[in-house]
Symmetry: D3
Subunit: 159 residues, 6 copies
């Protein structure tokens, strides 16, 4: 029967040994979205025109979040990150901001958690900067879009 | 016109000065959920019966995440946390785990970001521990349920 | 004779006990500058016109650096920061960027190290983002401009 | 035209992808200086004779600062550090302390930011330990002296 | 019956709510010891005479460790530290180094964990710096000597 | 004569250069123990039967502590950890808990400090969660049991 690998035969949590896995180039793309009020999105996009920029601060936070992933998530392996980018797509009518984060590494384990942490941290940062004007913000649909590299090969989410 | 307070008159981002705000007792409750496959939820709940426990590891991660909030979110003020708890409700038929985090402080600013970071970190930890058996996990509906204390008073989400 | 307070009578380093000091509102303003090639400054200011912005990334880094001050500097007391801002003045003819950081707290010790760490971190971030095109960048003249609050009262640098 | 590589074609900040760069041995040497009052330098050098030692605390801080570099600087890649040393040269007549830091790695990107962060952190630590007796301390002339390894080869500052 | 307060009625771990506790001045003194080979202790004490100093590096590590306590220990509350000192007593005949750490705060919870973390971190640092010449080092007898402040009053270990 | 390698010829502390060492698979096993009152051990083991679990929280803390090792210990090299596990053996009559931690890496330096930090952090976490009911807890006998990999080969403690 399939079991969760983060536990040993006695049910004890552990950081799985990846010592026998080869180092391969790995990429993961994750997404998420932040749903705000229409008025809040207007403020965010208005700021964008000027120098100050909610999304640029959120982008920096997302990129830095990648480097904190293994510190935040107990069983997650530390990785040397090759590169990160975080993009935002604005859906005006639906008053939501889509966050797409790509993380890359050359290593023994996948880089999904890093991409997902970038999305989550960028989302929390948008929330923080807008919460004074909008208490109903919702962060959601955080999931993996794509994963390449490693023994399990390429994964592509249905969408 | 209402403006985002994390930017000054010239549009520069800043950490807002809260020096004139009083110290009050503050509580925030946030929620989120993790949607998994039915089979994954079976594994999580089966583990729970034994000693190893996905949700207990996620709980510890969520509580520790609270203490990293101001390190993760650029404009977020550091706070002395009075207490945290993180609970999980399992909805078997819908194959989802609801995460409810409560954070408390006595301070000059609200503790919403801490509660939301607990939810997000616990969710990412569940994801990490189950990703080997389920690549379609989705973390979502992260939002504030309740907030008390401070000048703006009590906020209760419609639900 | 005056002695360095971070050492005890036997010459051992220590974190000085500030338990008997009162909590007062404190502000510190520090400055520093980054000297670059004229061509590098052109690139920085050109970027500024578009969305990407070296100085905005450096500003975020400087603000976040404030929150890491007591983790970086061994004998430095942790403080609850009330607010931070980081500004840049561009001197085109001299090809230098002046960084001015203001940090505020209500606490038992001064907030100079936080303002200075903001300046230093913002300067290093500008360096990092421009080093591919300019290897001769110099960060300098990091010093305290002003300090208010606490028993020793107001300090103003000659300038 | 030359562009800043930390931004993509749309001007968005990013952590540059170094996945195709080879791992080579890399060394960077950086310098900086701390200008103090003559009396302050006397105290520092007097302490040095006894067990307590401003410069030894600053050296430890500088070495530890190297390990925090990618956490401080947003677009900086994490690196596995092979070795660090931090030295101080005292110029008594000019009342200044020169800081020389050497950082070494085997990796895909250069180790300049690490050497510069060591210098900056050591400088801030000297400042912190002497600020009670000298409010006019200035940290300056932080720059790269030498860099070897990697595709761009050896760089030597004019001096 | 007495229960462990870090668990709620359902057995879930939590960070206990200290919101109703008053802020008082608190001091904790902890000890520990490092047992080494006689030859190792000779090297440590010989170094001490010169500028380099195992114990001074360990002291700095212990003081910095205090500031990382709530990041290391899951249910531990963050505290604003008022002061720390770390002392070493050398017992030559028994080839052991006693570590005594004192931590002080004004806060809602005790500062024992901080004093104990200082001792433990200083001990690990001595271990690290001597492990190349001595693989049988043992760190032990880490315990609380004294605790004052707070509702439970003064505690003094028998010794 | 043998010298402490963490100091250069002038007695200055440094992070030793390991650039010429090869990357090999390395394992370290460390142990330690926590001595508690019989009544405290009863509470710990009683909790274990239910969902909440002192030892599971301590295990998570120990695993996460591994990833903070080079941040805690000044001269310690950062390492990419391949895997960690932390086990507890309960000696009921002697009222003590033995902690055994295993850390694995593929790297240029040994992983002893990581295994020892896991033991120490797990021990401090047990202390923290039980200190309200037992002020006489003692953490001790922290030492290396086994070490494999690297140029110096296998080490096995006498026991």
């Amino acid at each position: 029967m399939s079991n969760l690998s983060h536990f040993d035969e006695a049910g004890r949590s552990r950081m799985v040994d990846v010592g026998d896995k080869g180092e391969t180039k790995r990429v993961a793309v994750a997404k998420g979205e932040v749903k705000v009020k229409a008025k809040t999105l207007d403020l965010i996009t208005a700021e964008e025109i000027e120098k100050g920029d909610v999304l640029e601060v959120a982008r920096v936070a997302g990129i830095m979040g990648v480097k904190k992933t293994s510190d935040l998530i107990p069983m997650c392996h530390p990785l040397l990150i090759n590169g990160v980018d975080v993009k935002f797509n604005i859906f005006k009518e639906e008053a939501r901001i889509e966050i797409i984060a790509t993380a890359k590494t050359t290593g023994k384990t996948g880089v999904e958690m890093e991409a997902l942490t970038a999305v989550s941290t960028a989302g929390l940062t948008i929330y923080d900067m807008c919460k004074a004007v909008d208490k109903e913000i919702e962060i959601g649909e955080i999931k993996l879009l794509k994963k390449t590299g490693g023994k399990s090969g390429t994964y592509l989410a249905d969408e």
